[in-house]
Symmetry: C2
Subunit: 106 residues, 2 copies
């Protein structure tokens, strides 16, 4: 996927994945790939800074743990995060309706 089109939607995707349960960064990337049927294959350099930003904004919270000698930071959605996700979904809906109207003529 050409990723310019990604811009502005990444937060929504990350929050959506984490709504299904806590996960660490690497796992979020894999889950995003899986759910999108391979369409969204985000580089780590994109996802990690984004997760940090979302945590800074209070939409996620994280905690470190160690599994098999490997450290992981596990993220979970906060209440404000869930609210933000609801807004993102609504915006996406309006946006995609507009896009289809102009592009496809629906």
């Amino acid at each position: 996927m050409r990723s310019d089109r990604m811009k502005g939607n990444l937060d929504a995707l990350l929050l959506a994945v984490l709504q299904s349960g806590a996960a660490h960064g690497y796992e979020v990337i894999a889950e995003l790939r899986r759910r999108s049927g391979g369409e969204f294959d985000m580089p780590e350099g994109t996802v990690y800074p984004s997760l940090h930003k979302l945590e800074n904004e209070g939409l996620l919270e994280s905690e470190w743990d160690v599994v098999d000698g490997r450290r992981r930071r596990t993220y979970r959605l906060t209440a404000p995060g869930a609210a933000a996700l609801a807004r993102e979904r609504a915006e996406w809906a309006r946006f995609s309706v507009g896009m289809n109207a102009v592009l496809v003529g629906l």
Copy 2:
């Protein structure tokens, strides 16, 4: 519409509007607003530079004319522009399927 989400989709929108017939910049903006039901209200400082870029890339061509003493630059889609639009539509389709899969779980 929060316009971050716009990023990467603007070219597709402009090409799509111009596929319905030649138009000048101001008119493209109005038509975009109309077709999207008011959702896409693009600033001139966004649209004009984009039209110039598309012309530079050979996807549009333009010509000056004067109507009621006002000069206008009328743009029309080229053959490469039509091809690019077809690609953009296909990409949009794949992208929005992916987004819906992750966001809405469809």
